[in-house]
Symmetry: C2
């Protein structure tokens, strides 16, 4: 009986109803607490501080009021409809709470509470899921940090801050990484639309989230997934294939090593599976892989801000020969080996460099390059019909101001947009350069500190381009 | 005749005399200028602003005084001895200037001026080198940014700032990267002793610098090299082998790809050579390779701050399962696959975690871990006789202060030092976490933003350990 519940499937009602979780009109926090530091307190506080505009109902039989909000002893006593119930009560009470939620006809549930299948308590988890499925209420969790969505300013989690706003949906199977990864989004200006901690994924799985983000959430245009393992591999592949036209998906698969696989199993109880099996599945699923956490964000950032790369001719434009060589090496590594600069373009580029510059690809404007040369060379390249995209590299010099260069790169970004071609920057230097690089990201130009990472990002755009060539571009 | 000059060799007088370049009692800037923005002006300014305490003699026949310093029309007219001559005059005059330097008996020369072999003007370069070799004056360059040394507060370059102080000597064949890479040292607290732009390496080559840093410079304990190519491969290998006991050497070889090789040749005129040949040579040379610019600094930082890893048992201690899995994957990638926690240690570690923590390797203290648990677990592991080193990972949580964790990790660092075992940190999070991570580096604990980079650093320490096992530890 219980077994039926656990057959993995992609359920359309879940995809439809996830909007209630990420964009609810009202949220109840069941297990809300008056005591600062307790998760039940922090979730209410985070909802308030995040700027959520809907109604918030703290549920606690022993409190009148929490953080200035009227408290209810039971969700059933809330006078209005409740879209989202966030559950933080101790594990033994969760089942009863879920029953109450079903009775109240909440539209979606997030169970933060841990102590279920991840510690061997699968039976109770199955029972909870059974109730939710009977009532067609999607449940995220249990054992999660929560969910955060910038579109509704919803911070229904115990992570202190909403992420820096952008278009990437982050789905993480590790809760512990989430707070750190949200911190990164501010530090490195990697914009996220949504953060989902999927925990034990007892009910809602990767597959449904992926389809929701592809089909139902205009705020999201890329998914970044930290995955340890899944028991619903077929559904995952199916969902990714269904989503692929609209949503590039980048996955960091942890547990690739032999021992990593064991560590994963002890950590989440998921089957990690061999690297080979996952690699094949990801290919079939049109999934773009990332090699580490930085690469996950690097690639997702490019995919969220720039169009796919539609051919293999990437022009690298640099003011430093060494950085150009490194970019050339990286281009090969990431599947977009550099090709010669088209002859007429090479001729045209001579205007933007001294006689000892190089029009070969990588194009070397030399250390004399000013912002006008950068702008001229980058836009000239972008406008050339054979060029698919441009990686522009700036090595800090004693005579240039990084912000001025960044401003001209951003301006060239407008030409890139008109041409529907990707433009990616790499800015090498200290504090001032990092500031300019972050500013560029705020303007929609992905920017990276080293050529290797910039080329990996462009490589991801090419991978997505190849996927779309195979399955057809969106009409 | 000219050919004789160019036979590569390791010359002992160069190794002896390099100290005059990196720690000169007096510096002449030949081609000093009154005009801000000109290299001849910037070099004088940088010497002053860097805090160099020796005498500075600007040389310019048309000026009385530059930046408050008395000017001389020719180096021969300087009344005192000159240790280092920095040459910034136009290329056609360089030869005459070198003759003057020889007559003046300067002890070392840095030629910043470009326009020699890198643009095909090899003859003049050879003639200059011939003069220097006849007079046994080591010459760095031509076509360089200059040299910078923290031990003498010498900024004899047109890079605006001395690097953040530390023990790594950076040798770069790319001048354009240098200013950016110096900026990084401040941003990421990667301490350098010295920066050498070696440019055309017409006279002083990698080999002599490496031996100097190994044998003559107590301020340096690691070399980080950005290399595009060398014509003196045998000397390079010989020098590295001679230096290896005292000096771990990390090399980022650019031009590994097919086209990168071509780009290198057009850029520096060096033979880049195939990846295979270089790979074999590096192995023979006991050189540790880096895979990109970040990795070059990551690995050098660890090697400059921590002892080599003397066995394969690295314990990973984390507060997040996901980060532990990623570290496990990375450990395998970098040649130090994780092994089981010794049984008695596992037992002892239980004191520092809740019942649902894990004493397996990676050790998971869980999100509940406070600084005391971190300290206890890390020091317990370091003290265990079978453990070779520890990687400690912190994922930011809502209930911990990264600085407090960092302080305890630094304290555990003292135990690591006593045990002569490496300790490496990984701190995942936003601005506050980055601050704590940078502070840790200032305390001598290498710290990285993701598990992959931390494990690469520990992998480098193991590589160096294996090298020393082969050639014998220093007595």
């Amino acid at each position: 009986m219980v077994i039926i519940v656990k057959i993995p499937e992609i359920r359309e009602y879940v995809i439809e109803k996830l909007e209630y979780i990420f964009n609810p009109r009202s949220v109840a926090v069941i297990g809300a607490s008056r005591t600062p530091g307790k998760i039940g307190h922090e979730v209410v506080k985070n909802l308030l501080e995040g700027g959520y505009k809907g109604k918030i109902y703290p549920i606690n039989p022993k409190a009148e009021e929490i953080l200035g909000l009227k408290c209810y002893p039971n969700i059933k006593e809330v006078p209005d409809e409740v879209d989202l119930a966030v559950v933080v009560v101790p594990a033994p009470i969760v089942k009863q709470v879920i029953k109450d939620c079903a009775e109240k006809k909440v539209k979606g549930i997030v169970v933060i509470t841990s102590g279920f299948s991840e510690v061997g308590n699968r039976e109770e988890e199955d029972e909870i899921v059974k109730i939710c499925r009977e009532h067609q209420i999607p449940l995220i969790g249990p054992n999660v940090v929560g969910v955060l969505a910038n579109k509704s300013k919803l911070n229904a989690s115990f992570a202190p801050d909403l992420p820096y706003a952008g278009k990437i949906a982050l789905i993480s199977q590790s809760g512990a990484l989430i707070i750190g990864l949200i911190g990164w989004t501010w530090l490195h200006r990697v914009g996220l639309s949504t953060v989902v901690s999927i925990g034990n994924k007892a009910d809602v799985d990767f597959s449904e989230l992926i389809i929701y983000f592809a089909e139902k959430d205009p705020a999201t245009n890329c998914a970044a997934i930290y995955m340890e393992g899944t028991d619903a591999g077929r559904e995952f592949v199916e969902a990714c294939r269904r989503a692929a036209k609209k949503l590039p998906i980048v996955v960091l698969k942890a547990g690739f090593s032999k021992r990593g696989e064991l560590a994963t199993m002890s950590h989440t109880g998921s089957m990690a599976g061999s690297a080979r099996i996952y690699g094949a599945a990801f290919k079939q699923a049109y999934v773009i892989q990332a090699k580490n956490l930085e690469d996950l964000y690097d690639r997702a950032l490019a995919l969220s801000l720039q169009p796919p790369l539609k051919n293999d001719l990437v022009l690298v434009i640099t003011n430093g020969g060494g950085a150009g060589v490194l970019a050339t090496d990286a281009a090969e590594k990431y599947g977009i080996p550099l090709q010669d600069t088209p002859k007429d373009l090479a001729e045209a580029l001579k205007k933007y460099m001294p006689p000892f510059g190089s029009t070969k690809n990588p194009v070397d404007l030399t250390g004399m390059a000013n912002e006008a040369w950068y702008y001229g060379a980058v836009t000239e390249a972008l406008k050339h019909p054979e060029v698919g995209g441009v990686v522009v590299i700036y090595c800090h010099t004693a005579i240039t101001e990084p912000m001025k260069i960044a401003e001209k790169i951003a301006e060239a970004g407008k030409v890139a947009k008109e041409m529907n071609k990707p433009l990616i920057a790499c800015m090498i230097g200290g504090e001032e350069v990092e500031k300019a690089s972050n500013w560029l990201k705020e303007q929609g130009i992905p920017s990276y500190p080293i050529p290797d990472r910039a080329m990996s990002a462009m490589g991801a755009l090419r991978e997505y381009g190849r996927i779309l060539e195979r399955i057809g571009y969106e009409k």
